[in-house]
Amino acid sequence: MRIIPTEILVIGGGATGSGVARDLAMRGFQTVLVERGDLSEGTTGRYHGLLHSGGRYAVKDPLAAQECIQENRILRRIMPGCIEDTGGFFVQTPGDDPLYAEKFAAACQQSGIPCEDVSLKQMLREEPRLNPAITRCFRVPDGAADSFLAADLNAASARAYGATVLKYHPVLRLLTETTAGEDRRRVCGALCHDRIHDEEVEIHADLVINAAGAWAGQIAGSAGIAVQMIPGKGTMVAVNHRIVHTVINRLKMPGDGDILVPAHTVAVIGTTDVKVPDADNYAIEPWEVQLMLEEGEKLIPGFKKLRFLRAWAGVRPLYQEARWADQPAQNRDVTRAFVLLDHETRDGVAGLLTITGGKWTTYRKMAEVTVDKVCEKLNSPRPCRTHLEALPSAAPAQGGTGHAHSDAHSGMRTHSDGHAHSLGQRLAEIEREHAYGQLICECELATRRQVADAIRSGDVHTLDDIRRDVRLGMGPCQSGFCALRAAGLMAALAPADYLPAENGKMLRDFLQERWKGLTPILWGQQLRQERLNELMYLDVLNVDHLGEKAERRAAASQAADERPGDKPQSPASRRGTPAGETTLVIGGGLSGLSAAWQAARHGQSVTLISKGWGANHWGAGCVDLLGYAQGDLVQAPRQALQALIQAEPRHPYALAGLETIEQALHSLQTLCQESNYPLHGSLAQNWLLPTAAGALRPTCLAPETMIAGDCRQDGRMLIVGFEPFLDFWPQWIAGNLQQQGLEAEGVLLDMPGLRARKLVNGLILAGLFDQADFRRQVAAALQSVEHRRRLAGAQRIGFPAVLGLRHALEAKQHLESLLGAPVFEIPGLPPSIPGLRLHHILIEAVRKSGGQVFEGMLVTDKQARPAEGSNGPALEFVLSEAAARPKAHRAGRFILATGGILGGGYSAEADGSLHESALGLPLAAPQREAWLQARFLAAEGHAVFRAGLAVNAHFQPVNADGQVFYENLYAAGGAIGGFDPLRERSLEGAALATGYAVGAL
């Protein structure tokens, strides 16, 4: 056990604690701050970010209002980089008490809060989305604060003045002693757990300051002192973009959901106020989210239909002398003003002060008052200077993007340049530096340099820590693209004791952390986004099975590869659709393209229309037939398929039948063979191929460019990445492969030609690999002195799946001849180059068979003819959205291949209903509460993604009674419900088999 002696110990690394530490250090006290997690991980990082003008309290609590406006002015001065001067409006919406307005203006004046009456015209000019029915508007000097950055800067300043800041040091208990001769106890320090080194640390101090916020009661309690805190949960919801640029408050007595704060790239509406028994354990209730949406609607018409990114809650540290159980359920009346408890006078225990309550805006004042008390207690009067001296804002970037400062150990956030921050700042910096090729988090524009700085600070232990530093993963895709990149970068910068096992877990933990905040608002486009994230992390990267020791069958026989060329039988035309029949396929994913291709081959006159492209562009570019059955790895798909067909007679595979599945695979293999892009594999076996996360993915058909990576075979791998390409981190991949018992090593090639480019992504690399010259350069770089040894030790060489778009096979063979070892591609984040190759081959095939393909056409409506005699109802035409007026498409046969939620085939609404997008067919929806699992990667999958159309044996959509909706309508691929292609790893297989079956009907 270590012992750290100090004068003052501060417990809590939120706004208050870091502020107190700074004040203490500035007044020359020897100070240690301990925080149980990361700085501002508690309530400070979980609030809406409002810098109060005081307007909110002007009527009800003038004292608090005055404090706010005074501190507001000070904070703007001392931490301009943390404050955005958004200004604030107080607006009176219909139904608000009109008398409040006058009281408000007068109260503001009394408290010294500048308050300007704004004409409604002016208000709408500045904030055009506000409700035009608003009847009154005042302007006050509210602002938006970056509370993460502020806590960091306070901690950095404290350090600069000699304080020690220890993160991940939870307090186990306060240490007390009883002075000899007296029976008075006093607190003399705290026992902490150093979570990073997993050891106990005793910190001895003359005085302990309990600034643990909502957890202050627990801390004091550990010394037997009762401090009654009422954890007040406040729920907030973030809108995907800045729907307003001014803080919007309601002109009424403070209540729920009456603040809308523009914070960085989002707007946050808050909050509720619910007492909870435990500050660490609370759920966000659906009614809370609903309430935020309803209240938002009053401010901004259409608010409820916006895209929401997250819902989260913070617990307010509300202090009440009486027992909280006696209090009314509503918390808002409890005082917001802060309290400083001197436990010597209050409880007869010396050595401990508790500072609690209050709000972010007044944190500095709270610190000042606390440290004044410290001076008094220690009999050492020293004046406060925190209001006079600016925080050590990071110096402006020196030739580096958003690259701030500084002492690598300061742990300071890297995103301030000392100027008042503004919305466009990051984008402007990226543009100035042409740094658009260096984005780890594209949504929030966090660059590689920023993330690397955070990692190098040594103060980062989880991906979530990086998030708090640089806003990683806080935008629309909620870590979909950046999580893998950050995990890989972390491995590339790893210290010697880096454990790859940790990193796989780290990635999953981060994904899970993001998921947690998403589930309360997951519907509409954000749900679609999460389905894409599932596709990336399950289907392509196999992260859910990362680290599992895969059962590898050594030396799987190549003989099992039933080579294409043994001609598939021509499929029997089961329904006998006459040649020349016009067929309209709706949807341009794999199912739609294969349906169109088959129909055209059978002599039908085919048109395919699609809103845009789909899963081909996102997937691995293989044909996954069945990778997992009941969570178990499938090694022999034929047997597993037979079992599945038996067990689930409504599964699309059961409807298609084994023979059709096999024919569909064969026909695609033949096509690809003819296109000089062979796909290998058969129903006899699944390949086990490495992914860009270093996991092993089972797949049935893989392009020739990938199969040398088969992990059922032995053979030492050299994984090669390219320095500026952020989607592929060879050290991380190799580390994870090693951990699964494979021999692998990673090398990151730094080629001057690539480094000189501003933008290197998969598409650009693919374009380069199409050129023989570039391939020679790559080989030369690998044969250089630096890498020669590694190359010599490799029995096969893995590259990111970017080995050419048009000439992939040639590129692979060329590289093999240059390098003298088998070469394989490893799939990763979208866009999928191997998927694009398949897409081009299929489009070409449709066209060559006489079919037409049109993109940009979204089906919005239909015309059907009613049932007549023995004929059921049938579709006559569908309408697609077009410039100025819809376009009609007539056909004899219609094939719906619009996909599931991800493809846009159906959407899920906030009210729990599901909608089929193109034709408005009724869909059965699972219960809203049962939509999602608590765990993102849960093996069972999320029920909402299993929804979809029910079809009969001919793939015709049917209603609940089994009756077809339209005689001439068929469905294929993800539009069909009842299965989860991503969990099964059957995405391409199911699309291909059903598309084939329907097209050939």
Binding site: L423, G424, L427, P476, R528, P830, F854, E855
Partner: protein
């Protein structure tokens, strides 16, 4: 679907970050100056707005081809977002004055035409002078090889007056099947009257009375240079002059696919003109081939002449963006003996005035390279394309004359062809 009614900027909420748009953007594929549709559109969109100066400039490299919109599965209006961002750059004075002057020069074909056409030989001579072109390149940023077509000596409307007078004389008050308004656009008026003549002849043969009301430039070149207030002026004028016909249910038909797209959608959307009049004009506007196909009057009987040619065809981006398929190709498929092949290329690169500019000329040439190779390799004496600037670009890059489909239709109806088509058919 809800997003159809969403204003341009709000559509950023639909983005899944999925990168599909980046796989089709022809500009990103050839230059590092442009970070691509996802970045420039929905991604940067979250950092724009409010009181601040617009933070980004690379968006100016978007050519506006809309290939991204067509491929996006989520319905993000990327190209429009980019156009509006450029509008903000211009509005805030972030485009250098000389560049802006240049942009206004190339974007005002009508003004240029009015000045130059009366002195066409002189103007063409000047345009052909190397030193003059170099001067324009160095001082104005108009690339010295930019594919400007020669001014036509005769204006389309000049011909039309004469033609209509003759027609009235020949068959006064002949009953037709109805009237159409013809929107000829600047190129037909000043550079290629032959396209307008062919269009009038075809429409008349199909039984329509052709009305050509006062019209000015559709404003697209201004829109794509971010000059929104000026574009608004143009569009308001056009709406005013076309509205009476729209009100009577008379269709407005144009041979320039970008003019018709502007009337249908671009101008109302980018300029936020959602009034009744603008909407009515938009809904009455048709692409020429879209219209004649829908009329049901384009029969094999009217297309009596055989044209034994096999020609390469390129569908302009702005035509694809109508989202009505390929009516040009469809109409031509009815012509006996004629085989027109679509190469399936995304973009020729010119994108209106984009490829004229010094800093973008090379990008535009690189974008179109695959198309040019294909056209050259096709070995035909002509190429076919519906949009004027694309035709000029193709011809500039390949040396092969390019014609509008209506010229072939008119020839197939037995009217005397003009220009390159005449030369080719005469040779045969």
């Amino acid at each position: 679907m809800e997003f159809l009614d969403q204003p341009v900027e709000l559509s950023l909420d639909l983005c899944l970050k999925c990168n599909i748009c980046t796989t089709v953007c022809p500009v990103m594929a050839v230059t590092e100056a442009f970070p691509g549709p996802k970045y420039a559109g929905p991604q940067a969109g979250r950092f724009r707005g409010g009181e601040q100066l617009t933070p980004d400039a690379s968006v100016d490299y978007c050519s506006g081809c809309r290939a991204c919109n067509m491929a996006c599965p989520a319905g993000v209006k990327i190209a429009e977002m980019n156009a509006r961002a450029r509008g903000a750059l211009v509005e805030q004075g972030k485009v250098a004055p000389l560049k802006r002057l240049r942009n206004n020069l190339v974007a005002r074909a009508a003004t240029l035409g009015q000045v130059a056409q009366p002195v066409a030989p002189l103007a063409n001579l000047a345009m052909g002078l190397k030193p003059a072109r170099w001067a324009a390149d160095v001082f104005l940023g108009i690339h010295h090889e930019a594919p400007f077509p020669p001014f036509s000596r005769e204006s389309f409307t000049g011909w039309l007056r004469q033609h209509q007078a003759e027609r009235r004389k020949a068959a006064p008050g002949a009953p037709g099947v109805g009237s159409v308004v013809y929107f000829h656009g600047c190129s037909t008026e000043y550079y290629e009257p032959r396209v307008g003549k062919a269009a009038v002849r075809v429409l008349e043969r199909l039984g329509y009375e052709v009305i050509v009301p006062r019209q000015n430039c559709c404003g697209l070149p201004l829109l794509s240079n971010g000059e929104f207030p000026a574009a608004r002026q143009y569009h308001e004028n056009n709406v005013r002059s076309l509205l009476p016909y729209a009100r009577q249910g008379i269709p407005i038909v144009g041979t320039s696919t970008s003019c018709t797209l502007t009337l249908k959608e671009e101008a109302p959307e980018l300029l936020d003109m959602h009034d009744e009049a603008t909407r009515l004009v938009a809904e009455s506007t048709y692409d020429f081939n879209e219209f004649i196909l829908a009329s049901g009057r384009l029969t094999e009987e009217v297309l009596s002449q055989e044209i034994a040619l096999r020609l390469p065809y390129h569908i302009p981006c702005q035509y694809r963006a109508h989202r009505i398929g390929k009516p040009g190709l469809e109409a031509l498929s009815l012509v006996k003996g004629l085989s027109v092949v679509d190469g399936g290329h995304t973009c020729c690169g010119i994108a209106g005035t984009y490829g004229y500019k010094t800093e973008k000329y090379a990008i535009a040439q690189a974008v179109g390279a695959a198309l040019f190779d294909w056209v050259t390799g096709f070995g035909a004496p002509l190429a076919v394309c519906d949009s004027e600037t694309c035709r000029w670009q193709i011809t500039h890059a390949t040396g092969i004359p390019a014609i509008h489909p209506v010229e072939l239709l008119s020839a197939a109806m037995g009217y005397a062809p003009e220009g390159a088509l005449r030369d080719v058919l005469q040779l045969k």
